[in-house]
Every structure is written in C-alpha cells, then in structure tokens.
C-alpha cells in the first residue's frame, strides 16, 4: 500500500508540476506579440473541503489564466481524503471493504483563443482505498486538424508509455479513443492521445515514473504545438467553427466524463470541476 511518505511525494509532485506547467504557458503568453491583447498570468485560488463529515478533508489549488494565446486555461491540483458514500462504494476498486479514500492529482484543460491552436486536456492522479492505483491521460482537440500535430502529440505520449511497458501505448491509445467518444453524435471528441485507469503493477516506483513521464510529455509537446499555430491568422468563421467544436466538448464533459459527473455527484468543488468548460461555445 501507498505509504505516508509516498503520498507526500505524490502530492508534492503534482503541486510542482502545476507550477511548471503554468510557467510554461505564461512564457508563451510573454513571447506572443499582439497589438492590443496583453499577456495573461495565472491566478491561483486555494480551497478546502468543508464537508460536514469531519473525516473528510484536504483541498486544492485552482490555477486559471485568461490570456492572449490561452483564452481560458485551468490547471488544478488537489489532495483530498474522506469516505465514499454507500452508493459509490460498489463502483470503486477496494472501497466495498472500507469506504475511506485518499486521492491526489493534477487536471488541466486549455482552450486557446486562436482556432488553429488545439485545445488540450491532461490529468494524472493517484487513488488509495484498500487498494491503490494511478490513472490519467492526455488528449488533443483541434478544430482544424494538422496531421503533424496529431502525430507529434501521440509520439510524445508513446515515449512516456514505452518507459513503462511497451504494450501500454496501444492499449492506452485505444482506451482514449473509446473513452473520448460522443455516441449521440457518432463523433470522437478530438484526435485522441492516451487514457488509463486502475494502473497498478504493484511496483509503485515504476508506475510513478510513468506518471511523471506523462507530465513531462505534456510540457514537452503541447507548448511546441501552440508555438507552431499561435500566429496563424484566423477569421470570425474559423472562430465560429471553434465554438461549435467546443460545444461538443461541453456535451462530452457534462454527459459522459466520469471525473466530472463523479466529482459533481460526490460534492466535489463545482468551480474547480467545471473549469474545464470553454469560455464561449456555440450550438448554431
């Protein structure tokens, strides 16, 4: 089982990763030249769980930026503990035996202003019940797809997977394609990436190395793709297409995303959970 020292290490990793990602995104804001829009900066807001049940506790820090490149970027970390309600115990590995849990993770969703810069999501987490496991993923959602961006995004996460197990990438890629899918539209949310859950090889260090590699892959590839596209000129019509694509993103997150629904239904922080929703979306 995950030791207290490992929990401390994990929580610090997620907090530090949040800082590094926010810094990487702010650097892009500084680099970007625009006649009227000013570079954005992250604002951070901490929150505590204030449940009636005193066994529930912990909290998190939301980071949000409204910038010239990133219309809305949310990068959240949280480390919480408590007890799963009876209705959830049967659905969470190891919770039927004992409802107590501990969880720590980072979650981000970025909605760029320029319709040619793809939106992105990344999440890594560690959960402890009577069992313990890692979960996470990263997926890219362009309005206008560039084969080069899709290829490089996948390659970056394949390299992270290959550090862990050569069979991971194919499985996690397929899991991502299956997960980020809107059945009522018959459409994928984006161009995929990786998705994994219940990851536990019973070697904590090995699995944590992979979790760290997923974070590093994000820092390596997403800023590179943003820099490729952020100076592409765009029209109102391009922006409208982006807003429609974002509508699909809203549909997915509110109808199918397990993390969103689970968080909202277990009394999670609504503001932090719904930070994933786009600043403007359209259903024409």
């Amino acid at each position: 089982m995950t030791t207290l020292e490992q929990k401390q290490t994990l929580s610090e990793w997620f907090t530090n990763l949040q800082k590094r990602i926010c810094k990487a995104l702010e650097e892009i804001e500084q680099e970007f030249e625009h006649p009227s829009l000013l570079p954005g900066h992250f604002q951070f807001k901490s929150w505590q769980r204030d449940d009636v049940n005193s066994r529930d506790g912990g909290g998190g820090t939301m980071g949000i930026m409204y910038g010239a490149v990133f219309e809305k970027a949310g990068v959240n970390v949280s480390t919480v503990h408590g007890e799963f309600s009876p209705e959830f115990r049967a659905h969470i590995p190891g919770a039927a035996e004992d409802p107590r849990f501990w969880a720590s993770g980072l979650s981000l969703v970025i909605h760029p202003l320029n319709p040619f810069v793809p939106a992105v999501h990344m999440n890594t987490r560690h959960i402890v019940t009577t069992r313990s496991w890692f979960g996470g993923g990263a997926d890219l959602t362009p309005t206008f797809e560039f084969a080069e961006d899709t290829k490089d995004f996948h390659q970056a996460f394949k390299e992270a997977c290959d550090l862990h197990d050569p069979t991971d990438y194919q499985r996690f890629k397929q899991w991502c394609d299956e997960y980020f899918y809107l059945p009522h539209r018959g459409e994928a949310r984006g161009v995929g990436g990786i998705f994994y859950d219940n990851l536990d090889t019973s070697d904590f260090d090995h699995d944590f190395v992979f979790t760290k590699a997923v974070g590093e892959a994000f820092i390596k590839i997403y800023p590179e793709i943003v820099r490729r596209r952020m100076n592409t000129p765009w029209t109102d019509e391009d922006k409208q297409k982006q807003c429609v694509k974002r509508g699909r993103y809203v549909e997915f997150n509110l109808m199918y995303d397990r993390g969103t629904l689970f968080g909202l239904k277990t009394g999670g922080n609504t503001e932090a959970i719904l930070m994933s929703l786009p600043p403007m979306a359209s259903w024409p």
Copy 2:
C-alpha cells in the same frame, strides 16, 4: 386506452400548434425594427425514424428560426412509435408488460438575442403504452428578472391549470421548481412555471382540454412578455451575463433533463433533441 381517432386528433393538434406558435413568433420578428438585422423566418425540416427494427416508425418536423428578436428558436413536433429497449421497460409506466409505445408531442426552446427578453421552454406530449398519459410544462428563464414577467407567466399557466383541477397549479409549480434545479450549483434554472407528468384522470377529453390550454397559455403570454422587453437597450456586459445564464441552461439540459438524456439514449433524433441548446453560451 387512447383510440386511433384520439391519436390522430392529438397529432393534428400538436402539428397545428407548431404552426400557430411559429406564426406568432414570426409576427414579432416583422414588428421589430432594427437598423441592420432582418426579420427571421422559420425553416422546417421533416425527419423519419429509420431504425433497423421495422416496428419502429414515425417521425417529426423541426422548425428553427434565426431572427432579429429570436437568436435561435426551435419548435419541434414528433409522432413516433416503437418498442422500448429492455433497459428502459422497467422505468416507463406500463412498459414492463408490453414494450410497445406511441408518443406525440410538441417541444420548444427559445433563446432571444436581447438579454432582457427571457428564454422559454414549453413542452406538451401524450404517451401510450399499456397505459396512457399526458406530460408537459413551461418554464421561463430570464437573465434579468422582472417581477411583472414572472407573475404574468405564472398567472397564465395557473389559469390553464384551473380549467383542469384547482389543485393542479400548486403541485405543478412545485414540481417545476424541483425539476428545473441544478444541485451542483445550488441554483434554479429560471423562475419556474409548471411541470407535470403521468397525468391521467382516466378522462381523456378533460386531460386533453388541459393540454390544449397549456399551449394557448404559451401563445397568450410569451409574445406579450417579449414585446415588453425586446426594445430594451443592452450592452456587451448584459450579453455576457446572458451567455453565462445560458451555460447553466446547457448544464441542466445535458446533465439532468430526462427528455434530453432519454431521447439521446434511445436513439432519438440528436439534431431535434439538442435544438434546445443556445446559439452561444459562456463559462468564464
């Protein structure tokens, strides 16, 4: 049980109501004077159920208008029949015994351009399994609440209820308040109205008179409220507030609205069902 002749009468009523509502909304478009925006007209699009199961059939007509007063107005009718899938049979009155159903109804959602004109939803329907019943409702969603509008909207539907049963209004008003509520926000969707389901006094004519009165109440009161507000000047800031309010509308429809979720999960017409979503919404 509902006879073939009654089904025919119902289906014709809904189709005729669609025409009258669309005409009433187009008249407002014609009246409205604007230096650059042109009056909108409804476009109609018919669709057929094309399920593999040949016992499923029927179809509907979507009416949609993009206007100067009504940024997006969707008024749909459908008359369909088929069989409920095994997973739904237990949840539908009378379907456990025999999965066949027949349903006819009208559903509308209107998102005005001017943030001072309230959005509105209205729906009336009749469903037949081994049982038969009416359902429906109407609720008003202003971004900026005017007590006069709220009062008059409620009064119009109270009058419809009073034709049916003097106890209806209080029950249906409360049902509406409970139904159109976002628990994760701790917010009501709007200022309420009425909501009812499984309505069957075993007097078809009596219940149908009520259903018709709900339609008439809508035609009486909503255009009146629109005319009161459609010339109120508004700013970008007002519009942004409307877009945020619309975001809550999206959250409700995709997370909680039984009709939306039921329709999408039973292979309904996605385009018609999601016509309720706003042309532009914001999560700042």
